[in-house]
């Protein structure tokens, strides 16, 4: 079981998040998916954020209908999640990370002191 988990998290997870500028749901989606990556996929993921207002043709090529949309490109099979990613359980389940322990705490990423 543990070996299976290790194999899953050691595979590089390639994610692409399609957002619309800095709209509230896009901002939330970005923040939520980064948290998941930091906690469960630290060091073994690539996350690219695409603003479809700046790059609409990229939305077309991936057949994006609504934003925010997250696509798990790798490992296959491809999966897509739509919304502000505010239900981490669902995303973790979809990414196959439900039973993977957290890798780090966000406390280490505290922002600048003017927060």
């Amino acid at each position: 079981m543990e070996a299976a988990i290790a194999a899953r998290v050691s595979t590089v997870c390639v994610l692409r998040l399609y957002v619309t500028g800095s709209s509230p749901r896009s901002v939330r989606a970005i923040s939520n998916i980064r948290k998941i990556c930091d906690e469960y996929l630290q060091g073994c993921h690539e996350l690219e954020v695409v603003d479809i207002t700046q790059h609409p043709m990229l939305a077309k090529s991936e057949q994006i209908l609504a934003a925010p949309t997250l696509i798990k490109m790798l490992p296959l099979p491809s999966r897509r999640f739509v919304g502000d990613m505010s239900q981490p359980e669902r995303i973790l389940l979809g990414l196959g990370l439900r039973d993977v322990p957290k890798r780090t705490s966000l406390a280490g990423n505290a922002g600048p002191p003017y927060r």
Binding site: D51, S78, G83, Y114
Partner: protein, 502 residues
């Protein structure tokens, strides 16, 4: 027509299932109100429509406007995660928006405050006024340090609750480096100006008034700094009068440099000094200024005068000495054979040279009696303190007296070694000198021998007799007394004090 294989059918089924799941997921999110934009196909290509009623074109234009801004713009949410960064921010921090968005801001730079207390002041400003402006340092992950000027504003939602921060950041690293360079240069040249041992005055060529003076100028002239500034050069005694001041400025405008050597200067204390002035006309950021360098050359002039006097003195003395050598040679040649002549002349010239050495080492300012005696009795230095006794106060002979007495001491020592107290093993010589306490004091010097062999006056007057007699007398305009007594030879010289001592 071939029917598809089983594996192709399975793959197609998987693809359809994935698309169905994607469609279901999209529908679920739309129903749940989790989306804020749709992508619609049109003849012109894909169009993005947002649910806030603001179309994607407006958003794109706003994005392009921010992309054109040369300052970095970064927006973070209430967890300090970046949700917006413009093209300038991408360039400044060396990362693409696609990788920076959602990142904690601490991942793209480490914040360093310039002064203790800046951080607390920034927090207070953000809490109380909702904004802060200031300078600090951002350290990129690659270690590069950026000096930045930041303007930070608190972002709020419709209810007025803080939702994050918007930072507009300007890279001032190059400007800071230039400022630091200017500051270093300013400090260096200010130190030169203030520590210089030349006076420096900055003068406005239009008003001819002093606008700046260095501390040495104050020391040179005796005026405090505030009394120098605003005055014209003639008012501080540097030039004769106003006309001279005007003339200098006119000449400077023509030639850019004026030099005055040996300018007499009277300072505020009434003391006269010799100064050398070099004035230059410079351009200072489009405005002409005159810089005057004033060097106190009083000491240099004094030294030059002293050297001139010394040269004349050396010339005079060299001639005198040659005359003495000539006389010694002539007198020595009158007695004895050629070998004796060579030997005696050499000894006498050595004696003269010893006196000369002392005079030179004392810069022709005279010779201490004890030093002269010791030098002339160099051959008997082992006997000094036992058989040759010296007694007398500190007294400095004039150059002429030193030459005459020096030669006499040499003759006396030679005679004592040949015929007198130093020719046996018991004899002693006492050399004494003192100044009498009369109204017109006299310098007395004695050479007294005892315990030596019996001495008799020579049958003829040789050159040695002349040296200890007439020549010694002539050197001090005094009287020499020579006795060949029962107890031994004695020589006494008496001269007016002013002729013998300095």
């Amino acid at each position: 027509m071939n029917s598809p294989s089983k594996s192709a059918l399975i793959a197609e089924l998987g693809e359809l299932r994935t698309r169905l799941e994607g469609a279901e997921e999209t529908l679920r999110a739309i129903r749940g109100g989790e989306v804020d934009a749709f992508v619609i196909e049109s003849a012109a290509g894909p169009q993005v429509y947002t649910l806030q009623g603001q179309d994607a074109e407006a958003s794109r234009i706003r994005g392009e406007m921010l992309a054109q801004v040369s300052d970095a713009v970064i927006a973070v949410d209430d967890e300090m995660r970046i949700f917006y960064l413009n093209a300038a921010a991408e360039r400044l921090y060396g990362l693409a928006a696609s990788h920076g968005l959602g990142q904690s801001v601490s991942k793209i730079y480490e914040l360093r405050w310039l002064h203790p207390g800046d951080e607390a002041a920034a927090q207070t400003a953000l809490c109380e006024r909702g904004e802060w402006r200031g300078e600090n340092v951002h350290v990129r992950p690659d270690g590069r340090e950026l000096n930045v000027e930041s303007g930070i504003t608190v972002l709020r939602d419709i209810a007025g609750q803080p939702t994050g921060l918007l930072a507009v950041i300007r890279d001032v690293t190059e400007r800071k480096a230039r400022e630091d360079k200017v500051l270093v240069s300013e400090t260096r040249y200010r130190r030169l100006f203030e520590a210089a041992h030349d006076g420096v005055l900055i003068v406005d060529p239009d008003t001819r008034k002093i606008v700046e003076a260095n501390p040495f100028m104050t020391q040179l002239l005796g005026y405090p700094h505030d009394q120098l500034v605003g005055k014209e050069l003639y008012q501080i005694g540097l030039l004769k009068d106003e006309a001279a001041s005007q003339k200098m400025v006119r000449k400077l405008k023509r030639t850019s440099q004026v030099r005055y050597e040996d300018l007499p200067l009277e300072n505020q204390r009434g003391q006269h000094q010799e100064v050398e002035v070099v004035a230059n006309l410079y351009d200072e950021s489009g405005h002409p200024v005159i810089q005057c360098n004033i060097r106190d050359i009083t000491e240099r002039k004094r030294t030059e005068e002293h050297v001139r006097m010394l040269m004349a003195e050396v010339n005079h003395r060299a001639k005198n000495l040659l005359a003495v050598v000539q006389a010694v040679a002539v007198q020595t040649a009158k007695h004895g054979d050629a070998a004796t002549f060579v030997s005696r002349l050499s000894e006498r010239i050595v004696g003269l040279a010893a006196g000369q050495d002392l005079l030179v080492s004392n810069q022709w300012q005279g010779v201490e009696v004890s030093d002269l005696v010791t030098a002339q009795l160099a051959h008997f230095k082992d006997l000094i303190g036992t058989r040759v006794l010296l007694a007398g106060p500190a007294a400095r002979l004039t150059p002429d007296a030193a030459q005459g007495i020096g030669m006499a001491l040499h003759e006396l020592a030679t005679n004592a070694a040949k015929y007198g107290a130093l020719s046996n093993s018991e004899g002693r010589v006492r050399i004494t000198w003192h100044v009498t306490a009369e109204t017109k004091p006299r310098f007395l010097m004695s050479w007294l021998e005892d315990n030596g062999p019996k001495v008799v006056a020579p049958a003829r007057v040789g050159f040695g007799q002349i040296v200890i007699g007439r020549m010694a007398e002539a050197a001090v305009q005094g009287v020499a007394e020579i006795k060949y007594g029962d107890t031994g030879f004695s020589w006494n010289l008496s001269a007016p004090l002013k002729n013998a001592l300095t």
